[in-house]
Symmetry: C2
Amino acid sequence: MERVETAEALRQRITRWRQAGQRIALVPTMGNLHAGHLALVDRARGLAQRVVVSIFVNPTQFGPGEDFEVYPRTPEADCAALAERGADLVFLPPVAVMYPAGAPGAVRVEVSGPLTEGLCGASRPGHFSGVATVVTKLFNLVQPDVAIFGQKDYQQLAILRTMVRELAMPIRIVGVETQREADGLALSSRNQYLDPPQRALAPTIHAILSDTAEKLIAGERDYPALEARAGMRLTDAGFAVEYVRIVRADDLKAPEGGEKRLVVAVAAKVGSTRLIDNIEVNISE
Amino acid sequence: MERVETAEALRQRITRWRQAGQRIALVPTMGNLHAGHLALVDRARGLAQRVVVSIFVNPTQFGPGEDFEVYPRTPEADCAALAERGADLVFLPPVAVMYPAGAPGAVRVEVSGPLTEGLCGASRPGHFSGVATVVTKLFNLVQPDVAIFGQKDYQQLAILRTMVRELAMPIRIVGVETQREADGLALSSRNQYLDPPQRALAPTIHAILSDTAEKLIAGERDYPALEARAGMRLTDAGFAVEYVRIVRADDLKAPEGGEKRLVVAVAAKVGSTRLIDNIEVNISE
């Protein structure tokens, strides 16, 4: 596995692969890789001859007071895991490669509208614009045929699909199911911020999401009541709930009736650690 | 010369050329082609094996009260001229191809900072964001190695160079010198809005720009005085002056002394027709 840090070194490898007619898959990450990321790499290997993984903790997607400075950085362990998993190249750009005019720079990819206004967009202004911008740069640097993202960041995935469609990027976006601990907790680099009692509490999110999903499948349709009930149960359990929302899977808008695919999404804090999770619900009635 | 309107038809041709190892040049236009555009096509032919010209009157770069509705559209004459000039493909997308979610859509490429704040940016809010967005889409659709733009739109060219650099687009941007009528008037589709007396007056812009350039070359450095004098002469001649500015060629900021490359840029109305022009000044002292 090669390890490159500059745009020039990256382009050189990419060009060689392209000229050989090989398909390229990109897995963009912020590093500190866990089994969730490695599942993305596995999927990537099934979709292309070459797998590029980027590791970049993107400053422009963190807000003031968020955890940019302390976000866990473990490049050596990450590269070891990626080599073992069969990635072909890991791209670890310094900030100056991703933001040649300094971060945030003068050019931004801005996504607006209902997709970005609700859920995490409401409490993290600028977050998705930061994500869209850095992903655009990674796409332009790597020129992948396909890019793989986790469904845990459901809103991010929907926004990136929209970005690719509206900007006519020649790239296929693939979402991969959330990987979980045995007790249901969604894998996340931020889980390591949790102390043992918080860690013991955290799987409650998934439990309540699953319960809400079951109620939807059983035919309950009073979405505000379901959201309120789930929110109250999380609050009672000790979470500071940011949102519990039931939205349409395709555009993240409030359901109007008759939808076949819904998503229940949660953001809640345990202590000072913000966790998100979601569950897709397919309704056949 | 082929004529295509859909992204699919375009991609098919592009893929074929790419697979044959041919370099592709793109000349983005709004149609109503004149000798200025054809000079871009000539330059494109010298830079790549395949020349794609796009014709798209982009709604998102026109402001309220601007001339989007009446902007001259002459696709048949344009295609004839392009075929004669040796273009390989002309791409004439309908609005729904460029804006699949409707214009302006939810995704925008936003350029901010000093490059966009002055000159035309001051009076045309959203214009350069509209340009950057549509050019990004065209780049993603055509995937050119090189793209050619006229220097008459000097600020646009500087902004697109910045966009390509900051977003790491794998595309070279080439600027081509402004083409002029024998009397000095810069070629522009908007010149046809001029009635005969206005047309007779219009070359005064270039005359005053040239005069200002000569004064700079002769050593005058009181930029505000030079700007004011040129502005007054234009006003006296019958123009409604929007700006006359002397700026640095590289970043369009006010000169601070010692600059080697300056640009004198003008926007002024003759009747209701807004004309722009500029002149580069290389100072060797």
